[in-house]
Amino acid sequence: MKDVRLLDRAFDPNPLIDALAMACPAAGGLATFLGKVRMGEGVEALALSHYEPLTLPGMDTLADAALGRFDLEGLLIVHRTGLMHPGEPIVLVSAAARHRRDAIQAVDFAMDHLKSDSWFWKREKRVDGWHWIEPRAQDADDILRWS
């Protein structure tokens, strides 16, 4: 089971995770990562832009790569676009597998690639206005772990 979504409004992670679990009864393990807009660091809002012809196809290709690399029963990848506020979910990855190592590694792999190799551009609104977020050296290092 593969479920890849690009959403332009706030979402509740739990029903999506529960649906994945229901669809994968043979999976003894379910690993999940939920990334949210951080609170209390002066960030008032976050805006994520994407490019329709690349972003969702890129996420789908990433899901296939994870399904090919790890022994999974199912994989869920959800990413927000648009305007978000502190505490709101940005990204959700959930992997169901027979063995825990596959589930945990698939989530780790998908997150590293979503963060540094997916077509999203991020701006933060602080008290002095909007700022584009640049790539971090850490992201490039993260993705090399999988090569």
Partner: protein, 80 residues
């Protein structure tokens, strides 16, 4: 019709808008010439990629867009 240019991320700020139209046919030299000042410098940078109708080019210099094509200028993605 013409070639539609889409500016992503901070390139849209430099371009003063997310989209422009330029006359077809359009190659890389013509695109850079049409983008003046900081915008031209920015899109020429090594880290800016280009896509034609949703396919990323390995080499920007090979750009060759015709009537109705969509050319996207893609700065580095934001990371974690």
């Amino acid at each position: 019709m013409a070639v539609r240019i889409v500016f992503l991320g901070k390139l849209a700020d430099l371009a003063g808008g997310a989209e422009r139209e330029l006359p077809a046919p359009l190659d890389w030299m013509a695109l850079v010439e049409a983008c003046d000042g900081d915008l031209g410098d920015a899109i020429s940078g090594d880290k800016v990629r280009i896509a034609v109708n949703g396919a990323v080019l390995a080499d920007k210099a090979t750009l060759s867009a015709g009537e109705g094509d969509e050319v996207a200028l893609l700065p580095p993605v934001s990371g974690g």
